[in-house]
């Protein structure tokens, strides 16, 4: 696991680092600490990370302005901050967890578990997904998302309007952020259940979900029964 800590207070950064090393143990591939946001951006550009532990107040700068560019990345972001008034907004913008200062090792472990364990989810679902678009960040309301299709290490958001947007996060990582109304119907598809009109069973144990707009999406054999029950 690759971890980047962005914290400008030396002692606090040291504490986060110690906790991370203890929690992640030998699964830790490398861990870096950056004191400034610019140094963090350089570190991210140099090598990909799995989780970013970010302080929202770096050198007097308001971290909320920096948040969107981070949550648009392929990695998960955990906010470690004293500015708890920003927590809800941070969740809405797609962070996996918000650890308020001062924190215990157990609380940080809980946050990291959401990243490391399969099926780990954010305690508060996101309301927006930040996508990179022509060098800028655009916020896509989750209410506009019809389904998400996995595409290698990234995902393709299909919106109600029919528009397609690419997101840097993998399908698994997006699922951790999306609300429970999105169900994994296939290893490559996350669908808003309310958009499903019907399930069709075909010969050869082939299943499909028909959306209200007529689109047909494949349904995994192992998930068919679970989806059918959910739709009832």
């Amino acid at each position: 696991m690759r971890v980047l800590i962005v914290e400008d207070e030396t002692v606090v950064a040291r504490r986060i680092e110690q906790f991370c090393r203890r929690i992640i143990g030998n699964r830790l591939e490398w861990l870096r600490v950056s004191e400034t946001f610019d140094a963090a951006q350089a570190a991210l550009a140099e090598s990909p990370v799995d989780v970013l532990l970010l302080d929202l107040n770096l050198g007097g700068r308001d971290g909320m302005a920096l948040l969107d560019s981070n949550v648009a990345g392929s990695f998960h972001t955990i906010i470690v901050s004293a500015n708890t008034e920003h927590a809800l907004v941070a969740f809405e913008h797609g962070v996996i967890d918000f650890v308020a200062k001062p924190f215990t090792e157990q609380r940080l472990e809980e946050a990291l578990r959401r990243v490391t364990e399969p099926g780990g989810r954010s305690p508060h679902a996101a309301r927006f997904l930040a996508v990179r678009k022509q060098g800028r960040i655009e916020l896509v309301p989750i209410d506009d998302v019809l389904f998400v299709k996995g595409a290698d290490d990234c995902s393709e958001l299909v919106l109600v309007s029919g528009r397609h947007e690419l997101h840097d996060k993998s399908l698994e990582r997006l699922q951790a952020l999306l609300p429970p109304v999105f169900e994994r119907i296939h290893k490559s598809y996350l669908v808003r259940l309310s958009a499903v009109k019907a399930l069709h069973a075909h010969e050869g144990s082939r299943y499909e979900a028909e959306l209200k707009n007529g689109i047909l999406l494949p349904v995994g054999r192992t998930r068919y029964k679970e989806i059918r029950d959910a739709l009832r």
Partner: protein, 607 residues
């Protein structure tokens, strides 16, 4: 020599300004055996402009004078064709007993016969004959001041119906003028007119009504403003305004009462002195009110200049008579007021335009009819100036009230800001997080951190509600904060103070905020961890130079004024009003903030 020149200058000024219009008065001309007839309005105080009241159905002949005393001169048939024709304001002074004669006739198809005679104008003693019949006496004319017995200033005589017939009548006046002399005057003045009775009554009402209104209005405003000064707000401008109104009421009274009622001629000099003094006092009060409202206190000394000019003119030009002197004194006052207020308008002082408009309007009304400015016109002519002054005072009171309210709000806001500093969640939570780590790593350092944190909390709690604290207390707070930051950042932060008087006062958390700004907007450098505060004496106060060490980050908020800088400026404004200045900028080694306080009493530099 200089004295003579000055005297000549004042005399010249007085003549040029005022006397010229009256020089063109009509001169008797033509064959002395022929009478020159004038409409009654010309005789009846033409300067009062009441021609409409005086239907021209009565005419007066020219006035003729003969020295000496002969009872036959009262006869209507006496031939006075060889008597000297004089103007009524050129009656000789101190020449013993002499006689004046004139004729009165009715004219026109709708003849209105004169039924009332008014005689006076300051002639000290007279006997007045109407067609040879003695109808009025005042005092006893005499050939010397000792033998003369002074009478009343004027008298009115109602003619019997037999006397007041249509046609021509002869008036003969036996008089002496030893007590008529006004200070330095060369001539006495005869006031003589005839009118139908009903017109007299209408005239009296008109002559008395406007001055009475003026006195009433000025008294009311004066008393109201005085009470406001006494009970509500003892500021100088209100006292001056009250005095101005009450003085004006007194001036109108002094001018009007002698016209309305007769008084002993021996009192006349006092009336003139009182009138001149009141003109100087009222005009000085007007100037003082304008200057006190518009200028700082040292300007008040300039008020002496117009006062000296007025006093000099009043002293040297008294012989010219009150009718000449009065307009000159007013013009000096108005010109001075226009100069003072005009300068204030140019300097854009609050309320100056209102006062200027008022004074210009008063000047215009004064020039329209200068002779009756202090009498029937005063209430209207002076009103614009009063309105301008009162409006300007009202504006000032309103802005002061708004400022006081803002100050109160700002004080409350600043107190909250200060309390927020001690409860800043970001600072507090980061400190607690660091404390958790320090406890595990270095328990002794953790104890120091807790101690510094407690000092900071105690100081901020004590400072709340204070407008100023001693620099000693402020520096203790700063050092406690730096102790906390040292524990949080693993750096050894310190504050060096140079030339500081620890007992001097500064707003609370002033330098603490500059330190916080340093941490927020600069990146620390391990080789530069010392904040420095230096005090320098200036000619009128003290200058504090504060250096925050560290690398400057590109942060526009710091230059344009973030929360911290706004707090500092608001605190300085609260404590020092306009007597402070803050400049800041990047310097070698960090960020420098210079605060200059211009009040020597608040100096924080060691002497």
């Amino acid at each position: 020599m200089r004295y003579s020149c000055l005297h000549s200058l004042f005399l010249g000024l007085a003549f040029c300004a005022s006397i010229c219009p009256s020089i063109g008065a009509e001169q008797a001309a033509g064959d002395p055996t022929e009478y020159t007839w004038k409409p009654m309005a010309d005789w009846y105080r033409p300067d009062l402009r009441i021609t409409k009241l005086t239907a021209r159905t009565v005419e007066h002949s020219e006035l003729r004078l003969e020295s000496g005393d002969d009872p036959r001169w009262s006869s209507p048939d006496w031939d006075d064709s060889d008597w000297v024709v004089i103007e009524r304001n050129r009656v000789p002074l101190n020449e013993g007993v002499f006689w004046l004669r004139l004729r009165v006739r009715t004219t026109g198809p709708d003849e209105q016969v004169p039924s009332l005679i008014n005689i006076g104008g300051g002639i000290s003693a007279w006997d007045c004959y109407w067609d040879g019949v003695l109808i009025s006496s005042s005092g006893t004319p005499g050939n010397s001041r000792q033998t003369e017995i002074g009478g009343m200033s004027s008298a009115r005589v109602e003619l019997s119906p037999e006397m007041a017939e249509a046609g021509q009548h002869v008036v003969a006046i036996r008089l002496s003028t030893f007590r008529s002399a006004r200070a330095g005057a060369r001539f006495a003045q005869l006031s003589f007119y005839t009118l139908p009775l009903e017109k007299f009554r209408a005239l009296d009402m008109k002559l008395n009504l406007l001055p009475a209104m003026g006195v009433g209005a000025m008294l009311t405003i004066g008393v109201a403003v005085f009470l406001m000064w006494l009970l509500a707000d003892r500021r100088l401008i209100l006292a001056l305004l009250a005095a101005l109104c009450l003085g004006s009421a007194l001036l109108i009274t002094v001018v009007t009462v002698p016209i309305m009622w007769a008084y002993p001629v021996s009192w006349m000099p006092f009336q003139i002195v009182a009138r001149i003094s009141l003109i100087v006092i009222v005009s000085s009060l007007l100037l003082a009110a304008a200057v006190v409202h518009l200028y700082p206190s040292w300007w008040r000394s300039l008020l002496v200049v117009p006062l000296i000019v007025q006093t000099a003119i009043a002293s040297y030009c008294l012989p010219l008579g009150i009718n000449v002197l009065s307009p000159v004194l007013w013009r000096v006052a108005f010109i001075s007021a226009l100069l003072f207020v005009g300068w204030a308008v140019w300097r854009r002082r609050e309320g100056s335009r209102l006062i200027l408009v008022g004074i210009v309007a008063t000047c215009g009304l004064f020039e329209w009819d200068p002779k009756h400015f202090e009498h029937s016109n005063f209430v209207f002519a002076f009103l614009p100036t009063l309105v301008g002054l009162i409006s300007a005072i009202g504006l000032r009171l309103r802005s002061e009230r708004l400022h006081a309210r803002d100050t109160k709000l700002m004080a409350a806001r600043l107190e909250i800001e200060l309390l927020k500093k001690s409860l800043q969640p970001h600072f507090l939570m980061n400190t607690l997080t660091a404390l958790s780590q320090v406890i595990e790593e270095k328990p002794a350092a953790a104890v120091r951190l807790i101690d510094d944190l407690a000092v900071g909390f105690r100081s901020l709690a004590r400072f709340s509600g204070e407008k100023q604290v001693s620099i000693g207390e402020e520096l203790a707070l700063c050092r406690a904060h730096l102790g906390v930051m040292s524990a949080r950042t693993d750096l050894n932060w310190s504050l060096e103070a140079e030339g500081i008087d620890a007992s001097a006062s500064v707003p609370p958390a002033l330098f603490l905020t500059l330190i916080e700004n340093g941490f927020s907007h600069q990146r620390p450098r391990k080789d530069a961890t010392t904040f420095t505060l230096r005090a320098e004496r200036t000619s009128d106060g003290v200058r504090y130079i504060f250096l925050s060490p560290g690398t400057i980050t590109e942060d526009t908020a710091r230059v344009s004024g973030g929360t911290g800088l706004r707090y500092v400026c608001a605190r300085l404004e609260e404590s020092f009003h306009d007597a402070w200045k803050l400049t800041q900028g990047a310097v070698a080694g960090g960020w420098e903030t210079v605060i200059e306080l211009r009040e020597a009493a608040r100096s924080g530099a060691r002497t």
